[in-house]
């Protein structure tokens, strides 16, 4: 009974933060709507084509990035590769830079009329940039799942096959849920990303919604165009239910895992490979940006950036903490199915994630912009709550999978000892999920820190974040200042992340 009340409480909080803005937005979009206009909008050839093109693009990006990221995650977590922490820290940089900056970087390198321009401007160019941007996600997820594999499962296989056989038949199947989860997350992220498609002139579905806001100020059409995202959310959930849940195995987190020792040749081989890889995906496109940085511009930029940077940290750290807490508690409600409508709760959270940030932002404005709610709307709280609404699915899915892997014997033992559901949550589930919670915090922080679309719509006047500041400076700002600001943004994440990695927190 108590559990049920608690679950209802969590759902209520999430409703306030995420679902209510969505409902208000939908009400606004659908009220006074003419059925013919809706049909006309969705019957347009360009809209239908862009929808299917975006589905294809997202599937390709999700699959390729996940494949590559999982391979790298295995290298970093499962072997004694010497520079793994450094490379992981470097590989998250593309995630921190506004994606269209990477696209502009590639335009700088390849040009608009070279042999490769035809490849860059269109499907392949957009796919390439998005693969580079989202690569860190499968890397982190696979590292997390690899560390859940009990050594004896692999040791058993070692009696019959070599290291590669163990990897193929035991390790990879056991991290398959990470692969699928990564695919689903990246699919959604790619589908709703519009800035790269805009720069590289690819006709994506999310761009349709964006243009209706930005050029036409047509809220209704823009919001209507986000409704097909419901289909995407439903598809994602179906795959998750059909595959991931079935294949999540209950197990305790082992203290140690088996590490594959690489020979000196292999160490050298992977080092060279990764240096080339980092050069291609990071240094090349960002060179034209960072080459403008001078000490003087860095000092000047730091002076300008200090206040926005502080805002970025306050908003992102608060949002990350709230996301970790609410994400875990929501995952708890979903995993243990305390409410009969848990599927809708789960689906709603995923739908929020698929929605274009602009649409969600407008929903927040429509709901919270009332005089009596000024203490929320006219303060940093609105930004923090918006980040929570947007990224809750990330936190929930990562926590959910950990909870579903928890052996039921642990919970039963707690019950037998007289623990209440709250004691079980507090003393068993949360400590057992410590590593995942830390990963959730880090991922939530990174996503919140880099976010600009929602922030631009909601930040209280005079309190912009660094990501917003960089974008507003890009209009005729001095290139060396913009470069220096971008460098500050990157270092603000990479340095603490690297320290985190060194302390073996992830």
């Amino acid at each position: 009974m108590q559990e049920r009340k608690f679950a209802i409480g969590i759902v209520f909080i999430i409703t306030l933060i995420g679902f209510l803005p969505l409902i208000v937005m939908l009400f606004h979009a659908l009220s006074g709507l003419e059925y013919e206009k809706v049909l006309e909008l969705f019957a347009k050839k360009a809209i239908v084509e862009s929808f299917f093109q975006s589905l294809l693009l997202s599937a390709f990006v999700a699959f390729t990035s996940t494949l590559l990221g999982t391979a790298l995650g295995l290298l970093f977590a499962k072997t004694d590769f010497i520079a793994s922490k450094l490379f992981v820290s470097l590989l998250i940089v593309p995630l921190l830079v506004p994606p269209y900056i990477l696209a502009l970087g590639w335009i700088d390198i390849i040009g608009v009329e070279s042999v490769l321009s035809g490849w860059l401007f269109g499907f392949w160019g957009v796919a390439w940039v998005l693969i580079c941007v989202y690569l860190p996600i499968p890397i982190v997820l696979s590292m997390l799942f690899v560390k859940q594999i009990a050594p004896n499962l692999e040791n058993m296989a070692k009696l019959y096959t070599d290291e590669w056989g163990v990897l193929r038949f035991i390790t990879l199947p056991r991290i398959m849920p990470a692969f699928v989860l990564s695919f689903l997350l990246l699919f959604i992220l790619s589908f709703s990303e519009y800035s790269v498609a805009n720069v590289l002139r690819f006709h994506s579905f999310s761009l349709e919604s964006f243009v209706r806001f930005s050029a036409f100020y047509d809220f209704k059409s823009a919001m209507l165009l986000s409704l097909p995202m419901l289909l995407v959310a439903a598809l994602v959930l179906l795959i998750e239910r059909l595959y991931v849940e079935k294949n999540l195995t209950k197990m305790k987190t082992p203290q140690r895992i088996n590490i594959i020792k690489l020979s000196k040749k292999q160490q050298l081989f992977f080092s060279v490979l990764l240096i080339c890889f980092v050069f291609i995906i990071l240094l090349l496109p960002l060179f034209s940006l960072f080459s403008h940085v001078t000490l003087q511009s860095l000092a000047l930029a730091f002076d300008k950036a200090l206040f926005p940077l502080m805002n970025s940290f306050v908003y992102s750290l608060s949002a990350a903490a709230l996301l970790t807490l609410l994400g875990f508690l929501s995952a708890y409600v979903i995993s243990f199915k305390f409410l009969s409508l848990w599927r809708f709760f789960d689906g709603g959270i995923v739908f929020l994630f698929t929605l274009p940030a602009t649409v969600l932002g407008i929903g927040f404005i429509l709901l919270y912009n009332r005089v009596w709610l000024d203490f929320i709307y006219a303060s940093a709280l609105i930004v923090i709550l918006a980040y929570v609404g947007k990224y809750l699915a990330l936190a929930v899915k990562m926590s959910e999978h950990r909870l579903q892997q928890m052996p039921s014997s642990m919970l039963e033992a707690a019950k037998l000892s007289g623990a209440s559901w709250f004691d079980t949550l507090r003393y068993i589930l949360i400590p057992q999920s410590k590593k995942v919670l830390i990963a959730v915090f880090v991922v939530s922080f990174i996503f919140s820190f880099r976010e600009s679309t929602l922030t631009m719509l909601l930040y209280p006047a005079g309190h912009e974040t660094l990501s917003v500041y960089i974008i507003t400076q890009m209009a005729n700002g001095r290139p060396e200042i913009i470069a220096a600001l971008s460098l500050i943004m990157v270092l603000s994440i990479v340095v603490p992340f690297f320290i985190f990695m060194r302390r073996k927190v992830i």
């Binding site: 608009v112 036409f216 809220f219 940093a380 949360i430 006047a461 890009m474 209009a475 005729n476």
Partner: protein
């Protein structure tokens, strides 16, 4: 866990208290580039002792920005003043009932064509729509219709016509010359191999790098490339008698309806419309053209009195723009 929970609580508490609202502040949403507008707002702060809370905008093609925020906040406006970088947005807001009229004493001396009849917005410090032309170009464009001139086939670029001043310019041409002529022109432009850039800035860079011969951009884009010493020069389009004239894009400043700080808002509007502000914006890197007579124009450009200017009704242009956008979108997709 305890630490996380405590951190949330303290951070949220601090966040909730972060809003500055001491009665001596004004909130302004600004679509003029932050690098140009911020120094002027800081100067206002210094002069008046008032605190300015600003929300700046990005290039339209990069994010949805300030306009959508203003429209969505209509029921409970957070902004007191909106500083738009062109009057079309002002007209969109006026039609949506988001503005309140205010006749600033500092608007006196500005040509009536740049002021809204009922004083819902006032224009100041304008940009001109000019050609940036590569020094390597053998032939000089003289009219916007040179985009369809075979002599410039595959040699011209224009910014995305769905956003910003390019859209406004096209809408102005439509309202001046009529649909038939303009649709034909758009078709011919495409057939003549026109390239599309994401922004005026990108167009200017493409011409400066020699990839294209000319582009129609804003005067501040030209000024910045000239300052950098790029191999480009200015051409004022359609200056001959009988030609359509140059399209002027003034900044527009306006008071929001139900503003929380109306007195402070009016002070800011007066300040922005002053000759001193126009002089500052003329001297700044944006090199904007003063609309008050007697205020010195930037050295790169002719004063507005010496130019054949397109006479438009910005309200009509705004209306035309809204009608045109679906067909511009289709034109772009072709």
């Amino acid at each position: 866990m305890k630490q996380i929970a405590s951190f949330i609580f303290v951070a949220l508490l601090l966040s909730a208290c972060s809003k500055v609202d001491d009665g001596r502040s004004v909130t302004v949403y600004v679509s003029e580039d932050q690098v140009f507008s911020e120094p002027l707002l800081k100067a206002f702060e210094k002069e008046t002792g008032m605190h300015v809370n600003a929300v700046y905008d990005s290039e339209e093609s990069k994010s949805t920005g300030v306009m959508n925020r203003l429209i969505a906040e209509k029921a409970n406006p957070q902004a007191d003043v909106y500083w738009a970088n062109e009057p079309i947005r002002a007209e969109v807001l006026r039609k949506k009932g988001i503005l309140a009229p205010y006749k600033s004493p500092n608007a006196a001396g500005i040509d009536a064509v740049f002021l809204q009849k009922e004083h819902y917005w006032s224009g100041f410090s304008a940009r001109l729509r000019l050609f940036i032309v590569s020094d390597n170009s053998m032939k000089e464009p003289s009219s916007v219709f040179d985009y369809a001139n075979a002599a410039f086939r595959d040699g011209a670029v224009i910014a995305n016509p769905l956003f910003g001043t390019t859209t406004a310019h096209i809408a102005a041409l439509f309202s001046t010359l009529g649909d038939a002529q303009m649709y034909a022109f758009l078709k011919n432009m495409k057939q003549n191999g026109i390239a599309i850039a994401t922004s005026n800035g990108e167009s200017a860079d493409l011409v400066a790098s020699g990839k294209y011969l000319f582009a129609l951009v804003d005067s501040d884009d030209v000024a910045s490339r000239l300052k950098r010493g790029e191999k480009v020069h200015v051409v004022y389009p359609d200056q001959k008698a009988g030609e359509v004239g140059i399209f002027v894009v003034p900044n527009a400043v306006m008071l929001l309806a139900h503003a929380k700080h109306p007195k402070a808002a009016k002070k800011l509007i007066d300040y922005l419309l002053s000759k001193e502000s126009e002089a500052a914006l003329a001297k700044a890197a944006c090199a904007q053209i003063p609309l008050h007579k007697g205020v010195k124009a930037p050295s790169f450009f002719k004063p507005i009195e010496q130019l054949h200017v397109m006479h438009v009704d910005y309200a009509e242009v705004a209306q035309k723009l809204m009608q045109l956008q679906p067909s511009l979108k289709e034109w772009l997709a072709e």
